[in-house]
Point group: C2
Chain length 254, copies 2
DNA sequence: TCCTGTAATATGTCGGAGTAATTGAGAGAG
DNA sequence: CTCTCTCAATTACTCCGACATATTACAGGA
């Protein structure tokens, strides 16, 4: 599906000699700049309080127009990463102001080597939210939800988690649970965290094979939700999160 | 060269009581536009799938430059509310793509009459997260955390919640709890929801006096955290959230 | 110490050139 | 005759750079 070729030479006829932004196919220019600056901030390259002074200077260095740079800054501002005032420049805000749950910010955080402590925080939050979601799903699911989950589970069994199809089925399974909670806020939260966790999954994949067959644990969650057993659903989901944490920790920390 | 455009170079020369954006003092122009469009989307004035077609038309109607309009659109895009593509226009994305936990989006959602179901979802999430936060705080707090919480509690007692100082102390109290969890992700999440809940608090204030003295319940939370009793802290915080939910529900819909 | 002026920097505006995707008309196959 | 595929024109976003304005940090004087 996604085999678009990089569009042949945009207006810039020169080859990228230095610090120009890499611009993907579907990605807009200001999006690329935001990505570059966002990852720089998230990786600690710019610390809170630092100033990205010189609107014109930055735009020149990145070889883009001021408009593009400004729109990128708007994106970062919208996500609470920076704040810019006349004369003072654009300052990186303290970490507590960052929208760490924003999917894009999460992506930037995991673009390089992610901070171990942050990954731990994220899993801790996941361990709080996901079991509660499973509990609600067990109370509110209908026949249709169960069918979708059952199909996803079957697909997971057919293709393993080693394939892209299998991982897609895994996502479908978890999305079906979230959808069954009938809670939009909970849904977007878990989806955000989940997208980041997906990254760790493929990180883990790179390091070594899956240490354990995850299917039985998924089945236990499904059975509990299908039976409407809220307590069992929460417990089973807790086990699932714990396993993911263990795997990720051993794959990362060494 | 100056004569070819006799039209008003000073755009603000005309008084505009037409459909111009209201621009607050500290608020930037594109921020005002984003607010206007954001509230329009959150209030359902634009449904998912609708197109805000015509960059030039919109900019003209709002009497702002295309640049300002575009920067506003960037903000909305960053928050997952819209997506704009060439030729297709700017479409409102499905609700599940919205960053409902973004403080600004939350603010837009509560700018008009908030959706009852959404408020319920939010409180449900709060009932999941806050007790867990209190539990962690009880396990990880140090002397300094306890001191800050104690001071905030004293300030709450002195000024009541009817005064701005009292509400500030309330915020300090809850922030101290969040800070004691040592979990940044949890902290930003609760802070986001909290800011929205603050709104409901003053909504409630407008309707009638506080139905019950909230101090003793806060004290119970404090005592449990200070004692390091995780279970009791979670339980006491659960009570606090439930009370807030009751108050808000009766103040809003009935 | 307080006030005031100035310079530096971000903010807002404008119009135009460039680029990408939708749309529908036309050609060809069944 | 109908259906599908291709392709070009249209249309709306994307990016640019120069200009004008507003705000404010900072320094120098009263």
């Amino acid at each position: 599906m996604g085999q678009d070729r990089p569009s042949t030479t945009a207006h810039a006829a020169e080859n990228g000699d230095s610090a120009k932004v890499a611009r993907g196919p579907g990605r807009r220019l200001h999006g690329a700049i935001a990505h570059k600056l966002g990852t720089a901030i998230l990786s600690g390259q710019y610390a809170p309080g630092d100033v990205l002074s010189g609107e014109v200077a930055f735009a020149e260095e990145l070889d883009v127009s001021r408009s593009a740079y400004r729109e990128a800054i708007q994106v970062l501002t919208a996500k609470g990463l920076v704040e810019s005032r006349p004369k003072a420049g654009t300052r990186v805000l303290p970490r507590t102001r960052w929208n760490l749950l924003d999917p894009e910010v999460l992506g930037w955080a995991f673009a390089g080597e992610p901070d171990i402590q942050f990954v731990r925080d994220l899993f801790e939050l996941r361990a709080i939210v996901e079991p509660a979601a499973a509990r609600l799903a067990a109370q509110r699911r209908d026949k249709n939800d169960i069918k979708i989950m059952k199909d996803a589970l079957a697909a997971m069994r057919r293709h393993t988690l080693a394939t892209e199809l299998g991982r897609a089925a895994d996502r479908d399974f978890h999305n079906a649970i979230l959808n069954a909670t009938r809670n939009d806020a909970l849904q977007v939260l878990s989806a955000s965290i989940g997208s980041a966790v997906n990254w760790t999954t493929q990180y883990k994949q790179r390091a070594r094979a899956l240490p354990r067959n995850p299917i039985p644990d998924h089945v236990r969650v499904f059975d509990a939700i299908a039976a409407g057993d809220a307590a069992a659903a929460a417990e089973a989901m807790g086990v699932l999160v714990d396993l993911a944490l263990e795997d990720t920790a051993s794959a990362m920390g060494g």
